[in-house]
């Protein structure tokens, strides 16, 4: 065995640090000190991702991990969402405990499972073997099941059941797709030890049997698409994302969906080389437009603001699917920027929605009137998040959506883009209307004073995230080289 180099340590850190934090929670439980383990682990994860970006990509450790630029970019997204989510954890759980919703056993489990969940996502983006990537994605389902069912109410139990059954079955199809790909690879004389290695498969893709790979492509898109919340396999998503505790919703919506979509990007490189671009394009355009349509239809009359945010995530996954369908450098760069922008914006929204629901005691839009006067700080972060997520400048989602649409028209998908733009317009209108109802107007008479003091740490983290999102709308700064290299890996020919 080769000695552990700095590179190996750096690549193992994003998996190892949260795993260590999970062990810490298992041993010590959740208390005033350990509550901050999660935040510390998330900050270290982000730091190691940035260090990996600085040292440059490379092959590492046991032939199972590879930290190329695409993996590093996804690690940065995971870190950028995990930091605010984990900073919000202590105050969120303290409020839950104070209301008697939860006890010491549940908080310990929360600590273990959230850290395990982050470690599994890091493994999913670092795995070089498609099979290991699949195992990690399925592990996220298992680890988040009890987080979705955290409150043990009827609604939470129902959401958790649907979540586990639909996602596990869906993702099983993706595994069948991987099995079929493995079969095709072995018959195309790919060395057996590398027959599931993503990069090796991409290099040998032209030799893979077309008929077999066509089956694999459908299975892989259906399977990972279920986990990414693409319509028509999205039925679990609004339930699970609205029932989970706010920090977990932020992680699931902001980054877990994107990690599942990352899996589609990885297999798309292989199927595009084996089958040409059309096969995947048809599947992804259908799923993308269906997702936008479902989101638009159910956002119009939405009465629950956490469900509103969940449907907005379906919309954004639909946009990612359209961007992937277009392909090429501009669309892929816009896709990756969109993943980061959506993660930053959506996590801020879910975290502030958690503070709102704890203050108001309900997740109904109608229950939250006049938030701007009742709780100005929370209202400000929620409003800024809303502006970011509907794709208005100066936030980066404006730039990435513009990039996707421009690339789409250039690639001859004009009608698809026109339909997509119309649906997005409906969504902007619907979310703007719900947001206005929550923020403006006069609140109920008894709520004169601010109901709960707002915890400072998560507010700073959210503001930092939204600030980063706004800066990314203007300039990529030091991220530019990582993004450029990641685009090349994800199929944009240079």
């Amino acid at each position: 065995m080769t000695p552990m180099t700095l590179m190996t340590w750096l690549a193992a850190a994003p998996i190892g640090i949260p795993a260590l934090a999970a062990c810490g929670y298992a041993l010590l439980g959740w208390n005033r000190v350990t509550a901050w383990f999660g935040a510390a682990a998330a900050i270290l994860l982000l730091a190691s991702a940035i260090a990996l970006a600085a040292t440059g990509p490379g092959e590492v450790a046991w032939g199972l991990l590879r930290a190329d630029s695409l993996s590093v970019f996804m690690l940065i997204v995971i870190g950028a969402v995990a930091v605010p989510a984990m900073l919000a954890g202590p105050s969120y759980l303290a409020a839950e405990v104070a209301r008697g919703h939860t006890g010491p056993r549940a908080t310990r489990r929360y600590g273990v499972l959230t850290q395990g969940f982050i470690a599994a996502m890091a493994l999913a983006v670092l795995a070089s073997n498609l099979g290991v990537m699949w195992v990690a994605v399925e592990a996220t389902t298992i680890l988040t099941a009890f987080l979705v069912g955290f409150r043990k109410t009827r609604q939470a139990t129902e959401a958790a059941w649907k979540y586990v059954v639909i996602c596990s079955v869906g993702i099983a199809l993706a595994f069948l797709g991987i099995v079929v790909t493995h079969y095709a690879a072995l018959h195309a004389h790919v060395p057996a030890a590398y027959a599931l290695d993503g990069a090796t498969l991409a290099a040998h893709a032209a030799g893979l049997d077309g008929g077999v790979m066509r089956i694999a492509a459908v299975l892989l898109v259906l399977g990972f698409g279920t986990k990414a919340g693409l319509a028509p396999m999205h039925a679990w998503l609004p339930d699970a994302h609205s029932q989970a505790p706010a920090p977990v919703s932020a992680l699931m919506s902001g980054v877990l969906l994107s990690v599942a979509f990352y899996a589609i990007l990885r297999v798309k490189v292989i199927t595009d080389a084996a089958l040409g671009q059309t096969a995947m394009r048809v599947l992804l355009v259908a799923a993308g437009l269906a997702s936008l349509a479902v989101a638009a239809a159910l956002l119009l009359a939405q009465r629950d603001y956490k469900r509103m945010l969940a449907y907005s995530s379906i919309e954004h996954m639909g946009l990612l699917a359209l961007a992937a369908a277009i392909g090429g450098r501009l669309a892929t760069a816009a896709l990756l920027l969109h993943v980061l922008g959506h993660g930053l914006g959506k996590s801020a929204l879910f975290l502030s929605s958690g503070q709102i629901s704890q203050a108001v005691g309900s997740t109904r839009v109608d229950a939250v009137r006049g938030l701007a006067t009742r709780a100005p700080i929370v209202a400000a972060t929620f409003a800024a998040g809303l502006v970011a997520i509907v794709g208005l400048p100066p936030f980066s989602l404006f730039a990435s959506e513009l990039g996707i649409v421009r690339a789409g028209f250039a690639a001859g998908l004009g009608w698809v883009m026109a339909a997509g733009l119309l649906l997005m317009l409906i969504i902007v209108g619907a979310m703007g209307r719900h947001g206005r109802r929550m923020l403006l107007g006069t609140g109920p008479a008894q709520a004169g004073a601010e109901a709960t003091p707002v915890a400072r740490a998560p507010v700073f983290a959210m503001l930092a995230g939204l600030g980063a999102c706004a800066i990314l709308g203007v300039t990529l700064g030091p991220l530019a080289p990582v993004l450029r290299a990641a685009v090349t890996i994800a199929g944009g020919t240079p």
């Binding site: 290991v132 399925e138 109410t153 009827r154 139990t157 099983a172 029932q243």
Partner: protein, 219 residues
């Protein structure tokens, strides 16, 4: 092992695998369904061991034994325990009756044969020619999942799908790499455990495990 014995034994194993899957549709007694699932796990393990003997591959034989322990021993044990704790014995009212279900299974088998053609064409060995059997069980698993109303029946549907995918992996390529196989087995075991705990919670919250009761969440 001689070719003369290998092919009939392989077909026998795959036949038992298919039969156990289809018979799940026939029985409504949940305990009997778990028994059939265990039987299917045994058939799957036997097929893997047979492939190992045929290829003189000791590792594959060991994996086959492992598959048997998990799918004929551990998973059925977990389900029996969950059933004993619940005291619910029967699938009350499947959405599709038994006779129709069996006819649907026949249609699904034909669909599986059609879909599997490109897979067989790539390498028409006796093992890959049995892939349609695995795909039939996959589709039957889906059918169980959407038409049965007890929580445990849905778990069985999920596990049938999983058995079918494992069978496909072994029939086409003698299995995925060991590290992946181990990870997948662990995931399946944990998913089954999670579902079992959720069933218990469901009984506490809803007073039963009839999935039609799950209608709290909607837009």
């Amino acid at each position: 092992m001689s070719e003369g014995l290998y092919v009939p034994l392989l077909d026998l194993g795959c036949g038992a695998f298919l039969l156990a899957g289809v018979l799940v549709l026939w029985r409504r007694d949940l305990m009997a369904i778990v028994g059939l699932f265990a039987l299917q796990g045994m058939a799957l393990a036997a097929v893997v061991v047979l492939l190992g003997v045929h290829q003189a591959d000791a590792e594959l034989i060991a994996v086959g034994v492992g598959v048997g322990v998990l799918r004929a021993g551990l998973l059925p044990y977990l389900m029996r325990r969950a059933l004993a704790a619940s005291g619910e014995g029967r699938e009350t009212q499947p959405l599709v009756n038994v006779a129709t279900s069996l006819l649907v299974a026949a249609a699904l088998a034909m669909l599986a044969y059609a879909v599997a053609q490109p897979l067989i064409r790539l390498s028409p060995t006796p093992a890959t020619q049995a892939v349609p059997v695995a795909l039939t069980v996959l589709l039957v698993g889906f059918f169980v999942l959407v038409t049965r109303r007890r929580a445990l029946s849905q778990v069985v549907g999920f596990l049938l799908i999983d058995n079918a995918i494992t069978a496909t992996a072994f029939l086409t390529t003698s299995g995925v790499p060991l590290v992946v196989e181990l990870g997948v087995s662990l995931d399946v075991l944990l998913a089954a455990l999670v579902l079992q705990v959720l069933t218990t919670r469901m009984r506490a919250a809803f007073g039963g495990t009839d999935l039609d009761e799950l209608r709290e969440l909607h837009d």
